[in-house]
Amino acid sequence: MAAPIIRIDSITKRYGPLTVLDGLSMEVLPGEKLALIGPSGSGKTTILRILMTLETISGGHIEVDGEQLYHMPRNGGLVPADERYLHRMREKIGMVFQHFNLFPHKCVLDNVTLAPMLTKGVAKAEAEKRAMELLDMVGMADKAKSMPAQLSGGQKQRVAIARALALSPKIMLFDEVTSALDPELVEEVLNVMRKLAAETDMTMLLVTHEMGFAHDFADRVLFFDRGKIVEEGKPDDIFRHPRQERTQTFLRKILAAGHRL
């Protein structure tokens, strides 16, 4: 079996007096598609944000692709990572946000080409060629010259996915990428993600309330509650035969709220 690409080792995350993650450990294999589910406030977003280095951690260690994420080696020991080190580690990871976070002053194409040109020194022509391929993949090639304000939510999110992919990260993080969308726009984004999962061997971590999609998409499902992994397993096991009472309660509530499985 391959070595894990992500190794989270008893990390702690506190916001003031509130402990959100308390000694959490988990591993992710290269190419694995992981779904993180659980009630609101259980810490799912926090984990993705920590992996994207948008937060700091209060304790523990994280290893990504064989290297420490928040610590760098120095004089035989580990010290907190500096900005330059983080910059190098971030190359391995991309993230798609719930609210798209497109750059509103740049057209679709420029949104996608900006980071490759700035961070990797890719020439404009080459960056645009690659961007058009990606926009084509997410079905947005005909909107390359549009401004974000002219797009629907589903279109914005597909552009945001293309933008993250343009840097070719080894790991992609998706935080509730459809929950800000009108119901009729959800499917077009999920279709893109299905395609992505089928066509690439990227490692993907997905936080979602779309249980049906999590079931089809994921190799493994983690059920979180209060900052802890309560239960994990294959989608069929978690969704059809949850063993823990808290998982059962959560799924019952979600299904009662009208979500499909």
Binding site: L54, H99, P104, H105
Partner: protein
């Protein structure tokens, strides 16, 4: 018989000085506003402290006093400036201090989500500022910058105190020589107003250019 065309010509010469002061003062103000405004949000304590000290000092003392210092006290430190240089320096630094707060506010107003997108796309802080934050912040700054430029225009009148022959100075000369108050002061009233109008229009044009296609940034 009063030579009105000649006197009006004198006032127009003064108007030229006023325009010159306004343009050069604004240019300096913009430069220091960005330097100090970005300094205020720097991650280095010393830079923040320096920027804050500058802003507080120039907002806390009057342009009047600053001008006198620059003109009469700086020479003792071996720095002698022409009246025009002094005027530009005092106006630029004074208005720049207000502009700095505008820059800081606008940069802060571009929200966390945009900054986080930049981190996720692995931009450096400088790249994020230059390519993502500032272009959006600019559209928030422009309206207030327009007001600041008009304030600066109005502030130029104080330079007549250091014998710079701006529009107000010339109006006073004309008044002294002709004994007529209405005509010179009505003339500069109209001219100041037209200049302020030109600034407003210019800024509005700039604003439209900068915000083109960009909805939803200004909230």
């Amino acid at each position: 018989m009063t030579d009105w065309p000649g006197y009006i010509g004198l006032i127009l010469q003064g108007a030229l000085v006023t325009v010159e002061l306004t343009i050069m003062g604004s240019a300096l103000a913009v430069v220091v506003a960005f330097a100090a405004g970005l300094g205020r949000v720097s991650r280095f304590m010393a830079v923040r402290a320096l920027a804050t000290a500058y802003i507080e000092f120039f907002r806390g003392t009057s342009i009047f006093v600053q001008l006198f210092w620059a003109y009469f006290v700086l020479p003792f430190a071996g720095i002698t400036l022409t009246p025009l240089q002094t005027g530009v320096l005092a106006l630029g630094l004074n208005v720049g201090a207000y502009g700095a707060e505008v820059v800081r506010g606008a940069v802060k107003a571009i929200g966390r989500e945009q900054r986080e997108a930049c981190i996720a796309l692995n931009l450096t802080r400088g790249q994020a500022m230059r390519h993502v934050i500032l272009p959006q912040a600019l559209s928030l700054m422009l309206p207030t910058f327009g007001n600041n430029a008009i304030e600066l225009l109005k502030g130029t009148a104080v330079v007549s105190l250091i014998s710079l022959t701006d529009m107000t100075f010339q109006a006073q000369v004309v008044r002294a020589q002709t004994g007529n108050t209405l005509i010179p002061f009505a003339t500069i009233l109209v001219l100041y107003f037209l200049m302020a109008l030109a600034i407003s229009w210019g800024m509005r044009w700039l604003e439209r250019r900068v915000t083109r296609g960009l909805d939803g940034v200004r909230t």
